[in-house]
Amino acid sequence: MVIIAVEELKVSIGGRIVISEATFAIREPSLVVVIGPNGAGKTTLLKTLIGLIRPVRGCIRIFDSIVKPGSKYPKSVRKLIGYMPQRDVINYAAPLTAREIIVSGLIENISVPRILLPRDSNDMVLQIAQRLGIESILDKFFDELSGGQQQKVLLARALIKDPKILILDEPLSNVDEISRVEILELLRDLVRRDGKTVMLVTHDVEIAMNWSDYVLLVNNGRAVLYSSKMVEDVDKFLRHYPEKDRKIIPSRSPYCA
């Protein structure tokens, strides 16, 4: 089975190549942590995976759907992915409560015209909110919440449609230590129990090593996947990557044939 695979991917923004070569495959439900320096192209890679940016070359495979440079990103794939953008892209002018934002994650599940919410939407919001410990702030306005609470609300919005894959861009920044562990435990639960695949960006190397199944290192235009189990000494790993023996080189199975 292939959950997410990428083959010889090349992505450029405004004529500048950001990702020059990426090839990796995630084959079983796992927690993948994406790390790399600022501006390395982590966000760009995630956006390419969900179809917000079109690749220049190579291909992306999500389950059985294949996306190539010329092809349109399939709608059916979008329904399988829950996305959490970096918090700074949100327009805070809109006076929306946490509840309204979480509910908007259901928008694809409502039939057109999307005016009436499903009858159990309130229960769904409450259930997700309880898992994230935010049930007491549901009726507060989004811009009144702390950074960490905002992150949890956005995570809840990505989760409520029950996607197979979660793509989270810096979900842990601005989040306090206790909440971080809560969120990571929840994510690990989602992987182990519900068989979801989680890809998250963080700058915290400790988190990357302690919680992940795989580490996707993005640097110098390359994205390389490592198994976390094979990394014993973090400092050494970071200093010496990319080392050939630890890198998971996908056997050249034609993902995109």
Binding site: L52, M84, I90, N91, A93, A94, P95, I101, S104, I107
Partner: protein
Amino acid sequence: MSLIIELTCLSILISLLAGFSSTYTSISRSGFLVVTISHAILASLAVLFYIAYIFNIYVTPILTWTIMLITALPVCAFVSHVRLFSERDLILSIIFALMLSIAALFMAILPGFMISRMWSFLTGSILLVSPMDMTFIFIICLICSTLYTLFYREFLLVSYDYEYALATSIPAGAINYLLSILISISTLACVYVLGLFVTYAVMLIPGAVLVNARVRPSLSIFLNILIIFITLMISIMLAFKYNIPPSGLCGVMISILAGLAIFLKFLMKRFKKTQT
């Protein structure tokens, strides 16, 4: 008597259009779009009147509305492709300046009797709306209000988190375009009836104040429609009694109301601070 009924109907239509648009404009930060579209119309009408004068053509309402639509739609199409707010506002401000200059250029060379017709687009001509115009405004209002209602959730989502919306399976790009079109068409109707000057007061102020006071979008739409309708009706009545232009009055009233609301909010904040 029938004039009063006609004006009431017109006020209902205009307050529906402006009420919906005002909320959406402020949530989607499209204030600049409203300003630019209205000046683009002014420019194209000035050019239209000049050509009509040269070739001695009579400018029918159909021609006027067609030209206004033809001017507005490309601006929307162009602008809704620009994702960055700063970039979008830069492009809009260039179009705005260009259009204002074109309008100034052509209005300067128009003969006097045509200038007065242009002038009515600036100050409004609510008392002179023809049955033909009324029909146009009715159709526009019907279409816009229906779409504004049907796409409520989609419009909110693309306005507050466009990137997330693009990542879902809903056609976010098309919805964003539709929202700009609806805001622009509503602007057309408002400029036609209330004039350029007052359009800003009606389309920008109430929505901005309510959104700033954290009134929920659906309630804000309802309140906007109500506020605009009441001020329009009061203005029309005062206009009849004292023979002053109604749209100007309406703009002044809305601005004063907004000022009061902001002052009240400020007082409440101070009061809360002194209590704690």
